[in-house]
């Protein structure tokens, strides 16, 4: 069964700390994504990556950075955590368009189960 694993389900950090959120997928997917989910705002894209060492900014990249050193792992980094970064963070992965066309046009995402981060 395909899987996206996020390292922590709940996390509490202090203001100013450097925070690492880890995401690992075992499906050999090319694309990986980080979203944050807030009530009434839905899912907003922070960063995504379509290949190893490649990254693209999403809609709300400020205060975040990412790292993708290996295909299966995509890390989200909060350089200096602030209280307005308290949120649910969701990682997802997907096939590239070329790969998806070979697999019944499966362009959907597979999501992790989320990390609820509280910054105090």
């Amino acid at each position: 069964d395909v899987k996206v694993t996020q390292s922590s389900r709940y996390l509490v950090k202090r203001t100013g700390e450097k925070v690492f959120l880890e995401c690992v997928q075992d499906m050999d997917h090319e694309n990986m994504f980080w979203y944050r989910q807030d009530p009434g705002l839905g899912l907003r894209l922070i960063y995504f990556s379509y290949d190893v060492k490649m990254k693209e900014k999403g809609d709300i990249p400020e205060g975040y950075s990412v790292s993708r050193e290996k295909k299966e792992r995509f890390s989200l980094i909060l350089e200096s955590a602030s209280t307005n970064q308290t949120s649910m963070y969701l990682c997802a992965s997907s096939l590239s368009s070329d790969s998806a066309r070979r697999v019944d046009f499966n362009y959907g995402y597979t999501f992790g189960s989320g990390t609820r981060l509280t910054v105090v």
Binding site: E30, N31, F33, Y35, G40, L41, G42, L43, R44, L45, F48, Y50, E56, G58, M88, L90, A92, S96, S97, D98, F105, Y107, G108, Y109, F111, S113, G114
Partner: protein, 115 residues
């Protein structure tokens, strides 16, 4: 940028009844993909149904079906014979055709199925 609008923040339906969740989107693309995702209290996002824009036939998955109106840029989800386990947040999402492009999500509709 493409936008996805879900105009119903909350909905309620009785068990065994039918409910329709609305979604509209804005794009200049001709070929794209649309999805409905379900997020139950467990927080795990689950793909419910997907639709390719070039297909005129509406997608169906068991009790879930869509009404895809390309000209109107509308993509509603119909849940028939609602079950208590359908209680969840439902997100409509849009994906352009190019490799690496991310999904754009609506703000979600919270659906409560009551006995």
């Amino acid at each position: 940028a493409q936008t996805v609008t879900q105009s119903q923040p909350e909905m309620s339906v009785q068990e065994a009844e039918t409910v329709t969740l609305s979604c509209t989107y804005d794009t200049s693309e001709n070929n794209y993909y649309l999805f409905w995702y379900k997020q139950p209290p467990s927080r795990q996002m689950i793909l419910v149904i997907r639709q390719e824009a070039y297909k005129q036939q509406n997608a169906t998955e068991n009790r879930f079906s869509v009404n895809f109106q390309k000209a109107a840029k509308s993509f509603s989800l119909k849940i028939s014979d609602s079950q208590l386990g359908d209680t969840a947040m439902y997100f409509c999402a849009f994906r352009p055709p190019n490799s690496g492009y991310a999904l754009n999500f609506g703000k979600g509709t919270s659906l409560l199925v009551t006995p």
